[in-house]
């Protein structure tokens, strides 16, 4: 693959990135909703453009199980899922992180049934928020492509050894054709050397993996996981920095747009960041002192960077893409409130949940959310969350 810029479906570009990363094993199951990622990968393998085992399994549960087995023998391992598929594999999703297996997953974010829906929101990923995976969120096709490489680099780092989910919005990204700059294979090889794992399942050096933990050891095992994901942070920063140095495209745990002098900001995760920036541009022209804060790294949560980005602002309008039923607010807003509690100069938070199951959040909707949110913040109306655009 040479360095080239082309108009291509984001899912296809993701699959091309996986092939360029020279993976060894792909666990694949076409649960509804399906993307073209594994379909395209099966073509790539069938045409000998990638030497890998394409394992078309019997369920998403088995897909993650196959990935656990292949990562445990030290093979570079990839899978992709969504929605119901993620729900089915949730059990093994947790175990993969606990066993420190560096699997990379393209997680096309979509809603969960019922009612059955195949469209985009963040309900699926919020379900596995606490599983111990590293979660990256991307905004467009280029970021999706790029972060397959950074994800492998992070996951397989000796100091990390954790699975990484690249969260990208279903349909809004998965099925869109975008201009994407491909890197050449030499650049990729330089950035992503062959995977070498210290302790693998091999008869030459037998180890036992996935042992049974009594109460006297379980707590310590969990603390090790907590340590591991926190210690992953500098590696993530380094992986993004080096990718930026090679390609000119830099990524940061929290990214801001026109927020330096902003009095209030809209906070988003995923593809809506782009709409938010456009709307902020037009509101700025009208004299609104508004900016955008985008959370790219969801786990480990970038507490310091987030606080640095927002302390001193008057208010934040947080756009959630999932509901925590009966909870204090959307999952993102609840965490941000917690991150700012008792902090001097903390902005108040107004929380909107919007864009559930693919319902469009247009520029005009963003404008309404931002302006209404600002007004509500001024009145101290900041409890709970508001379901934006609710009909009837």
């Amino acid at each position: 693959m040479a360095k080239v810029r082309k108009g291509i479906e984001v899912s296809i570009a993701m699959a091309d990135a996986v092939a360029q990363a020279n993976v060894d094993v792909i666990g694949a199951y076409p649960i509804t909703p399906q993307t073209h990622i594994v379909e395209h990968l099966s073509e790539i393998v069938a045409n000998a453009e990638l030497d890998a085992e394409f394992v078309p399994v019997d369920s998403e549960h088995s897909a993650m199980s196959v990935c656990c087995g292949s990562a445990a023998v030290g093979a570079r391992t990839f899978t992709s899922t969504s929605s119901q598929g993620l729900a089915l594999m949730a059990e093994i999703f947790y175990i993969a992180a606990a066993m420190r297996l560096p699997i990379v997953m393209a997680l096309a974010n979509r809603s969960l049934s019922s009612p059955l829906s195949i469209w985009n929101d963040h309900t699926d990923t919020m379900m596995v928020r606490d599983a111990g995976w590293i979660h990256l969120f991307v905004e467009n096709g280029q970021e999706s492509y790029d972060n397959i490489f950074t994800a492998f680099r992070i996951a397989e780092d000796e100091d990390v050894m954790l699975p990484v989910a690249v969260n990208f919005d279903g349909f809004i990204l998965t099925h869109m054709i975008e201009p994407i700059e491909y890197e050449d294979n030499d650049t990729i090889a330089k950035y992503l050397p062959a995977f070498k794992m210290k302790n693998t399942l091999h008869p030459d050096n037998p180890v036992s993996m996935g042992c049974f933990g009594m109460p006297e050891i379980y707590t310590e095992a969990q603390m090790q996981r907590e340590d591991a994901i926190r210690r992953a942070y500098p590696t993530i920063i380094k992986a993004w920095k080096e990718w930026g140095d090679l390609t000119g495209r830099y990524y940061h745990p929290v990214e801001t747009y026109r927020s330096e002098d902003a009095e209030y900001c809209i906070v988003t995760m995923g593809s809506y960041g782009e709409t938010a920036m456009e709307v902020v541009d037009s509101l700025r022209e009208e004299g609104e002192k508004v900016g955008v804060v985008k959370i790219r790294l969801w786990r480990p949560f970038p507490l310091d960077e987030f606080r640095k980005a927002v302390l001193g602002k008057k208010s934040l309008i947080v756009l959630d893409r999932a509901i925590s039923f009966g909870g204090p607010g959307g999952p993102v807003a609840s965490e941000l409130r917690s991150a700012l509690y008792n902090k001097e100069g903390a902005p108040v938070i107004v929380n909107y949940v919007a864009g559930l199951a693919g319902r469009d959040v247009s520029r005009n909707d963003f404008r309404n959310i931002i302006l209404e949110g600002k007004a509500r913040a001024g009145k101290g109306d900041t409890e709970g969350f508001t379901l934006y655009g609710l009909r009837g």
Binding site: D24, V25, G27, D51, A52, E53, V55, P56, V57, D58, S59, H61, S62, S65, V66, C67, C68, G69, S70, A71, A72, V73, G74, A75, T77, E91, I92, I95, M99, A194, L201, H202, P203, N205, P206, V207, S208, M209, G210, C211, F212, G213, M214, I217, A221
Partner: protein, 309 residues
């Protein structure tokens, strides 16, 4: 059995790949089966094990009874995990990332993990044709969690979720025939075995490992705790199961059936059931019904073997 001789025991390795010191109950024939299986497989083996008795007793952190690389992931997925191990190794060896080596890929699970919760992943793994062996240790109930019925629990057995009572015979369904389900996948090798017949078991596991592609070995593993018998009688009840033809020993090589052992004198089912606490509520009439089913099932197997001879 025809190939057995007094020298058989000398041919078995002294090397223990599943070591003593594990925490199995006294008289656990399943742990014995694992020991024999691991002798048959040797050290160049990777084992993926389902959650269950054998996993719990052999791997309490930070201890392990395994001398071979071993992985436990979840209850239902050992066959999928071993598929991943096999695929990963295959890809890495082909790409020259690791040296070529013949490795046995073996998944193991109890009857619940095999016949109930893990039947989907097992069927998938067999259908995909991975070079692997699946071993089911069948103790005929969920013993690890406290003797609950599985689909492999035999008709009439009393368990904690199929208790015998005024209007219940205990388990009121027939035992799921897992070896036949495995045969239906057209895999090269399927066999039944029992640690009461150790040389037969070892021979079959070796053959399963040597066969390219998927192989399935179903091992009847007497559980004194769950069957409500004395620990010292575990081996005896294995023999009784086989001599009464309740659990016939046979193998299916590339679709051809072959009986491995014909009892010198076929015992009655009553002789097998007698003394087992789980069956003590059965009446003579119940036992007659079981005897009729055992006879008819055994005849079916014999007929297949005769056809294929």
């Amino acid at each position: 059995m025809d190939r057995f001789s007094v020298f058989s025991s000398r041919l078995v390795t002294k090397s223990e790949n599943f070591t003593s010191g594990h925490r199995a109950c006294q008289g656990c024939a399943e742990a014995l089966a694992v020991r024999h299986v691991m002798k048959a497989l040797g050290r160049d083996t990777i084992v993926a094990m389902s959650t269950g008795c054998m996993e719990i007793i052999s791997s309490p952190l930070p201890l392990t009874a395994w001398k071979v690389p071993w992985i436990h992931n979840a209850f239902e997925n050992s066959s999928a995990v071993i598929s991943g191990c096999e695929s990963g190794m295959k890809a890495m060896m082909r790409k020259g990332r690791i040296p070529q080596k013949k490795i046995n890929f073996v998944a193991m699970g109890g009857d619940g993990a095999t016949a109930d919760i893990g039947i989907g992943p097992l069927s998938g793994a067999l259908e995909r044709g991975h070079d692997m062996v699946y071993i089911c240790y069948d103790n005929e109930a969920y013993m690890n969690t406290g003797i609950q019925r599985s689909s492999s629990t035999p008709y009439g057995a009393s368990t904690t979720t199929s208790p015998a009572g005024k209007v219940s015979i205990g388990q009121h369904t027939q035992k799921k025939n897992m070896p036949q389900i495995a045969v239906a996948h057209d895999i090269p090798y399927v066999a039944t075995a029992c640690p009461s017949f150790p040389f037969d078991l070892i021979e079959k596991v070796k053959r399963a490992a040597e066969m390219p592609g998927g192989a399935y070995v179903h091992i009847l593993s007497v559980c004194p705790t769950g069957w409500r018998i004395q620990p010292e009688d575990a081996i005896k009840y294995g023999r009784l199961a086989i001599d009464s033809c309740v659990f016939p020993l046979y193998e299916v090589i590339n679709g051809k059936y072959r009986i491995s052992y014909t009892p010198y004198k076929k015992l009655t089912v009553a002789e097998y059931l007698k003394g087992q606490g789980r069956f003590r509520h059965l009446t003579d009439k119940d036992i007659e019904k079981i005897q009729a089913k055992v006879d008819s099932d055994y005849l079916k197997i014999l007929k297949r073997c005769e056809e294929d001879a």
